[in-house]
Symmetry: C2
Subunit: 380 residues, 2 copies
């Protein structure tokens, strides 16, 4: 194989000009992915609604590029001169390779041809017929247009032909960098990395922020972010760790007031407050959190209301409608689940009975008692 055909979805549906812009960002992300994974390539170019990556390490390149968002599917392919003899010989070679790989005596197959540019004399159905016959003559096999073991793809473009027998599905979504930036709060749990991942999938560059709890948890969050970075080509951000100076003061004051049950809501409020500041420093337009409604007793609409008041930025919660098992299955697919189950630091100040439906008015009083000012700091 000497080339990878990259197919992208949603981008194609946008205006010509937007499309160029998308293609350029996608091509840059592809180059960045290949470079970071040390896979040499000669060229990445956009042609007639697909992207071609010229490399002799097509299979490895495909593995890496399944992690680049905006890509719908990939095919490692052979590019040769577009004449019938070359097409036949190449198709047969790839067919044989695939047949061996599948270990099938008499595979059912079909040939699917497309002329992306029309200079080739034969029409697609004629090409399909010719290549099909040639394979039938030379290999034990049968044609089956519906239940086939092997599909031989033949795409003709600008005097060249691209022949392939594999079509690998990728994540889809949009290229990172096309949708701006958000801050992602990473706690070390199972949910927050999945939330960050889903925003990245929609083309957002993520600025990962961790509020320090201890060395063990930090170590774990670093591992999680290193895993997420494999999906973040095109993004630049490095993990930002915040050591909250105000924590001691909050815990002591809540204790003094006998309101320890508000500790968790207060902690989350301050996390968002820190995320808000960082977002504004970096020009990020939102905050991502891993909240899923009712997953723990204290993950209620009331508590999320309070936490949301810490920032005027929208808080994005892509997991809000998901069950735990759905979240876990994504976490396993993207490789963060095992990392999220690594040991964490004990948190000494978690109350026995966290408030389940916190009151904003009561929270305001507590906030004023701790900081001597209003919790909301917005120009109105």
């Amino acid at each position: 194989m000497n080339v990878v055909i990259v197919r992208y979805g949603e981008i194609g549906t946008k205006s010509r000009q937007t499309r160029r812009w998308f293609e350029n960002i996608l091509m840059n992300n592809i180059r960045e992915a290949l470079v970071s994974e040390g896979i040499e390539f000669k060229k990445v170019e956009a042609k007639h609604g697909r992207i071609l990556v010229r490399t002799n390490r097509a299979k490895e390149a495909v593995d890496v590029l399944t992690r680049v968002f905006g890509i719908v599917s990939l095919s490692p392919a052979m590019e040769v001169e577009a004449n019938l003899e070359k097409i036949n010989k190449t198709a047969l070679k790839l067919f044989r390779r695939k047949k061996r790989e599948l270990g099938l005596e008499r595979p059912r197959f079909r040939v699917t041809a497309r002329r992306i540019t029309k200079e080739f004399p034969l029409k697609s159905p004629e090409i399909q017929a010719k290549v099909g016959e040639y394979i039938l003559e030379n290999e034990e096999s049968e044609v089956d247009l519906h239940n086939y073991d092997i599909e031989v793809g033949v795409e003709l473009m600008e005097g060249k032909v691209y022949v392939f027998v594999d079509k690998v599905k990728a994540w889809g979504g949009l290229p990172i960098g096309t949708q701006g930036k958000v801050v992602a709060l990473l706690s070390g749990g199972i949910d927050s990395p999945v939330a960050a991942f889903l925003m990245m999938k929609r083309g957002v560059e993520v600025i990962p922020v961790h509020i320090y709890m201890g060395e063990k948890t930090l170590e774990k969050v670093r591992k999680i972010w290193n895993q997420l970075k494999k999906y973040h080509y095109g993004g630049k951000a490095e993990l930002i760790v915040v050591k909250p100076k105000e924590r001691k003061r909050i815990i002591e004051k809540l204790k003094e007031l006998g309101k320890e049950k508000y500790t968790c809501v207060f902690c989350k409020f301050m996390m968002v407050r820190h995320a808000d500041k960082i977002a504004k420093d970096f020009g990020a337009k939102g905050i991502v959190m891993g909240d899923s409604l009712g997953q723990v007793a204290s993950q209620t609409l009331e508590n999320m209301y309070i936490v949301s008041q810490a920032s005027d930025l929208p808080i994005y919660r892509p997991l809000i409608g998901m069950d735990k098992e759905e979240i876990v299955s994504i976490a396993k697919r993207i490789g963060t689940f095992e990392l999220s189950t690594l040991p964490e630091d004990e948190i000494p100040f978690i109350p026995r009975h966290p408030i389940i439906r916190g009151s904003w008015e009561e929270f305001r009083k507590l906030y004023r008692a701790v900081f001597g000012e209003e919790p909301r700091k917005r120009e109105c």
Copy 2:
């Protein structure tokens, strides 16, 4: 069949007291579902971590109850006295029925027995062996613990046995009414019903609000809400339709200022403003919207920032991390897709080039020009 076994997931993991509360809400939702669909039943009761619905229309009941959130799986079952002879005869009867249904000559099967209460003399493995033998003696079949066509379930509880051969998967989630209320904005498009559905799935009662565009669209939204109601047992809300008096004024002013490109952002802002007021009237704690990042050019972080300023309530966007095809596939499963593609009223005032990355400062100016006051109305 004379009973339906209802299995629920997440609830089971909660504290004993919370669990009671959940079970009661789930049982009420089950009763409401059966009554609204006209399926008679004798009794709905919670027993040892499962719910039993006594009805002679078990199969129909199962179809309905797959739409009740909080339920993980359902089995139409036969309840008989717990003695080995009865168990064998019942198991054989159901096995034969299933065998006919599947049209298999020699089905592979396994028996799975559980003693939920322990008074029955035989242990589970012994029961499995006995029932298995009995079926083998009386029906052409073979035992296969791993690749089976039929699984015969036998659950023993309080002197009774429950025998079943079907286990129907349901949506999971949490029972509606356990997580409070949110306002759902329904536009008539494909996305907003899916967003509302996903919040409902997590146990939220939804208050559906439509901002009037015309009779055709309203008709369509009524149909969509009637479909969503089939998943909303336990919720009471009816569709609320708002006819926005301010629209004319906004459009004229934007035209006068040559800022038509802000029309859509302005419209969405006002939708949220209306939703905010209704939420506060009804004690709802959030607003659900169908936004998916970058799906249309104007669905940007910048525009969502502006729209979010219309309310201090959290705006939940369960679709924010999804691709269009994922959203469409859910819409098809829940039966709203076809309805969303019904004809709508033309919207005359949609600008040719809607603003893609709106500026909050510019929006504020425009808002002041239209209404003579600040867009944010929060106590700070």
